[in-house]
């Protein structure tokens, strides 16, 4: 298990890949948000992750780069909080802030540490947004993803396998939001009319896990 860890560089690559995915799918995310929200989720996520990637190189006041996982994630979280706004800014921002706190001043994360950090992130999302399963939010992609990750790790899966499982579950969770009637976020204003559409935040969360699975699934640099 000693070599089955995620390095700082891999975490940065994850974020870079997430930025790539949200900006590629900016139009699609905004289209989903047009149907049941206010048509800004794609631009919100792209603006946020662009700011994150600009910031990551200089996460310290002295202009140097983060060398520890908690520094990295806190910088990502603060950047999202201060550049996105809307619902997704505080939610994704808190997600990364809490990941950082839980990960602590380390340079790598093994499977358990990765899981613990992600769980803390999910806890932050729930603390801020009070969403529960079936409310038709990003929670509905994120919670199943973490359950799948843990299940895979528990049965001896490595990080690559476990994050691939998490991505599958995130996709399934995202797809399962389609028939739901939203109870949180803007989509809830539509009542029954929110049913029949994917949740935009669940969709971007599936991209977050796609990025993670992509990054770890690749041959190490």
């Amino acid at each position: 298990m000693t070599t089955d860890t995620v390095s700082l560089d891999q975490l940065v690559a994850w974020l870079a890949r997430f930025r790539e995915l949200v900006s590629q799918q900016q139009g699609y995310l905004t289209e989903l948000d047009s149907a049941i929200g206010d048509a800004d989720h794609g631009s919100n996520m792209t603006r946020g992750m662009t700011a994150v990637m600009e910031k990551i190189g200089v996460s310290h006041d002295d202009g140097t780069q983060a060398t520890l996982v908690d520094e990295l994630f806190k910088s990502v979280g603060m950047t999202l909080v201060t550049s996105v706004g809307g619902a997704s800014g505080p939610l994704y921002g808190t997600f990364f802030l809490r990941m950082g706190t839980t990960a602590g001043p380390v340079t790598t994360l093994d499977g358990a540490a990765l899981s613990a950090a992600l769980r803390a992130g999910l806890g932050g999302v729930v603390a801020r947004g009070k969403a529960e399963a079936g409310d038709k939010t990003m929670f509905d992609a994120m919670a199943p993803a973490l359950d799948a990750l843990d299940a895979s790790l528990a049965t001896g899966g490595d990080c690559v396998t476990a994050t691939a499982a998490a991505f599958s579950a995130a996709k399934a969770g995202r797809d399962a939001t389609e028939p739901l009637v939203a109870r949180k976020g803007r989509a809830s204003y539509l009542g029954e009319r929110s049913s029949g559409h994917l949740d935009p935040g669940a969709t971007s969360t599936a991209l977050l896990f796609e990025a993670l699975a992509d990054t770890l699934g690749q041959a190490p640099a």
Binding site: T30, I36, A39, T82, G85
Partner: protein, 332 residues
């Protein structure tokens, strides 16, 4: 997309440049996207801060000035501003008597203002309290959901509570008054067309020529129901009925607003107000004051909303008190 803009990403920055040029009496912090009064908040006066996504002009920047807000934070179009902006606005506006955050009830706005209050209190010890406006009767009220949207009552609240703050009332009294105003107002909106968010580049929803959306908010979102296009009298009925059903407005005078969504000309807004006034009279509602125009908009959406606020002599006096902002100005 046909808009008077340079580029979708630049809309907010460019609009703030124009606001700064047009209003030398205001300060504009272009980095933090804050509009605040040219004259600092006087010592002992509670500061009123609001903010929200852009695209609702004149709300909120147009209500900064004597008798209303001390500062307004502008987010990206339809996207709540960020906590650091609000924290900065809180610091700029506080004169020691504390700050009221006026928040419209949207998940994003609520969360960002909460974070801002935590950050501001932790950093500078400023006392912050918040009112969350949730007056839109189109949305079912429930503790299981995000609750009702904040719409037209925000305008009334910023004016009335603004006047009380100029009188020197303390933060507890100001907060209580803000909650009273929120509890006394109800709104309902409709749209003939969607609006186009600049970064999206096309209308948020498509709607046939013979249909309209009833129960829309101020973010170009579809409404609660799509129904056949109707005449102004029928539209007025579809807006007024749910408002009157939600709260008894017959026990005293009201202030009535017929608000345009941004793409509807004034002649139609007056025409609609005429229909609304007839229905209110029939329902035994006495209109003490009225406001017709574009006050809380949704970009270029065509449509309107009705807001009623129950008032007593005290609230009326605060409504009539002098105000000097670009969006509302009288008595000065």
């Amino acid at each position: 997309m046909k808009k008077l803009i340079n580029a979708p990403e630049a809309v907010l920055a460019d609009a703030l440049t124009g606001i700064a040029a047009a209003h030398p009496e205001l300060n504009v912090d272009h980095v933090n996207r804050i509009i605040y009064r040219g004259t600092p908040t006087k010592a002992g006066k509670v500061a009123l801060i609001s903010g929200g996504g852009s695209g609702h002009e004149p709300l909120h920047g147009g209500f900064v000035g004597f008798g209303m807000l001390d500062a307004a934070c502008a987010g990206e179009v339809f996207t709540s501003p960020t906590p650091d902006q609000m924290q900065e606005a809180t610091k700029v506006a506080d004169s020691g008597a504390g700050v009221l955050h006026i928040v419209k009830n949207y998940t994003g706005d609520v969360m960002n203002f909460e974070m801002a209050a935590e950050m501001a209190e932790a950093e500078t010890g400023v006392k912050v309290s918040a009112v969350v406006v949730n007056d839109d009767v189109a949305v079912e009220d429930s503790t299981w959901t995000a609750g009702r949207r904040g719409v037209g009552t925000t305008v009334f609240l910023e004016k009335i509570v603004g006047a009380a703050a100029e009188e020197g009332r303390d933060l507890a009294a100001i907060t209580a008054l803000a909650n009273l105003v929120n509890a006394s107002g109800r709104s309902m909106g409709m749209a003939l067309t969607s609006c186009t968010v600049p970064s999206a580049g096309k209308p948020t929803f498509e709607i046939p020529d013979d249909m309209m959306e009833i129960g829309v908010g101020i973010h170009g979102e579809p409404g609660r129901h799509r129904v056949a296009l109707a005449g102004a009298a029928s539209i007025a009925q579809q807006l007024v009925d749910p408002v009157l059903a939600d709260l008894d407005f017959t026990s005293g005078p009201v202030i009535a607003m017929l608000n345009g969504m941004g793409g509807t000309p004034l002649i139609e807004l007056y025409l609609m107000y005429g229909e609304v006034a007839k229905l209110l009279e029939k329902a035994g509602v006495t209109v003490a004051r009225s406001l017709v125009g574009n006050y809380i908009t949704s970009l270029d959406m065509a449509g309107c909303s009705v807001t009623l606020l129950k008032v007593d002599d005290e609230l009326l006096k605060l409504w009539d008190a002098p105000v000097n902002t670009s969006g509302l100005r009288w008595g000065l």
